[in-house]
């Protein structure tokens, strides 16, 4: 017996809705579970004190500071390089072998696992360049890791700027560089911002690469040459070594809240960009 096509369609749509609902359910469950167990323990003291006895007691201030340093520095390094690459690819050259090879390099870099970045950062920045396990080594490693994200989103943002803007700018007598900086970049800024914000999110979430490059020192870092443990790594160590489940949940809650805020910011920037260019 042949099933009527409309019934097949009904079944297919129900199946896809089920899959999507389960996916969203998993997401909601993860967030709710972590926040329900951890949020009650996220106190002012937890956020502003240093850990005691390996994190069993006390707070996580050094990890917050360390994470801000590592992620912030990584993006400060990667953003100018990424945006410059995107400008070159879109405004300063024609499609050819060179653009192909640059994109190929960025795409390959995007696919490399974080543990490989960690190994590289360890042997190159930590040992060969003598930076030691430090915020600087971690940030440089992460900068390389988030570079493809920034290149890709900046390129898309710049391409979305209407050609008419460029024509008008040239018509008014500006040079290419004036046109790029004063017209194109200005319009593309929220779109580029989305990429930068997502790169910050990726840097905060990263664990394997920073474990091998920034180390796991518990103290408050005083300079970028100090080793520092990031929030994600602290959470991993707390839960894996069974040091304190309470503090692990609290640390995870802070991480999840940070990621939520970052994604909201990226979403908001993207909407502004779409409104601006369209």
């Amino acid at each position: 017996m042949r099933i009527h096509p409309h019934i097949t369609q009904r079944l297919a749509v129900i199946a896809m809705w089920t899959l999507t609902a389960i996916t969203l359910g998993v997401l909601l469950f993860i967030i709710a579970y972590i926040l329900a167990h951890g949020l009650p323990h996220v106190t002012w003291r937890f956020l502003t004190e240093s850990p005691e006895s390996m994190g069993r007691e006390g707070g996580v201030l050094p990890m917050i500071v360390g994470t801000l340093w590592v992620a912030g520095l990584a993006v400060v390094i990667a953003a100018p390089v990424g945006v410059a690459t995107a400008i070159y690819l879109t405004e300063y050259t024609r499609e050819g072998r060179l653009t192909w090879i640059i994109r190929f390099g960025a795409d390959c870099l995007a696919g490399i696992p974080s543990i490989i970045f960690g190994l590289f950062g360890f042997v190159f920045f930590v040992i060969t360049l003598g930076m030691g396990l430090s915020i600087l080594s971690g940030a440089l490693t992460l900068a390389l890791m988030v570079l493809p994200t920034i290149i890709r989103t900046s390129e898309e943002a710049i391409r979305a700027v209407p050609q008419a803007y460029r024509d008008v700018s040239y018509g008014l007598g500006s040079t290419r560089w004036q046109m790029v900086t004063q017209v194109v970049l200005k319009s593309a800024l929220p779109g580029i911002g989305t990429g930068v914000v997502l790169a910050i999110g990726r840097s905060i979430s990263e664990t394997a690469a920073v474990m091998l490059t920034a180390g796991s020192a518990l103290g408050l870092p005083r300079s970028i040459f100090d080793s520092s443990r990031t929030m994600a790594l602290h959470f991993y160590i707390l839960s894996r070594e069974g040091i304190s489940m309470t503090n692990a949940y609290a640390m995870a809650s802070v991480l999840i809240l940070a990621i939520l805020a970052i994604n909201l910011a990226a979403y908001w920037l993207m909407r502004r960009f779409v409104a601006k260019v369209a």
Partner: protein, 286 residues
Amino acid sequence: MRGETVIRWVLRVTALSALSGLALITAFIFKEGVPVIAKIGLVDFIFSGDWYPMEGQFGIFPMIVGSLAVTGGAMVIGVVFGLGCAVLLTQFSSPRVISIVKPSIELLAGIPSVVFGFIGVVILVPFIRDTLGGPGLSVLAASIVLGVMVLPTVTSISVDALQAVPRSYREGSIALGATEWQTTHRVILKAARSGIVAAVILGMGRAVGETMAVIMVAGNTLDVPHSLLDPVRTLTSNIALEMGYAAGEHRQALFATGVVLFVIIMVLNTIALTVSRRRARREQAR
């Protein structure tokens, strides 16, 4: 005009930095890892199951099997769910649904891997232990956790591929009297095939490369797994677990593990990039 020339050159050199980064990574990973492989012999390194760093015996066969096993499992989940979401989003839903589901899946991609691993340990592992038996820390647990983690990759790249199918295909098929579902699986999915293949392969790359979540739920034993419920160690976990205290030849052997992982990833990347580039070229020709 001289200013413009200088700017062009500065931009060109900067644009090469991603490529130089890739070259540096390749060079240093190989420089550290290849000597050990050369000493042991590639075949012995890959096909021997003896990993005794103290005795200078390094064979990564169980880890290769482990990586393949958890990746295979993860892809089953990631592809079924990821494609399901992508097709629903592109073919069967209103802008309102898209505006909720799409950011949610992006959010799922942003959640740190350690959090996935942690949820795996506190929820999934005890569940598997109690209902299916075994230690709980297993190929199955790692596959499920990884499946959820690669789902956003598969979804977002498939969405791009499905959206790139010209509207006229859909309209033509509907005009011939096909239902929307017939149109989707006989016309749209076929037209978007190469993009979906790229999505699956890139998802595979993510699954092979994921480290922290796998360490937390896979159990990390050094044996070749015989069932889905056996614990397992992957290439990535092997590196992350032992890097902290390894020195000398042991450390080099971990870099050699990295070389094998790197080669697997580059092969997957290259396949995915060629497949999607071929698609781009076909689209240009249209």
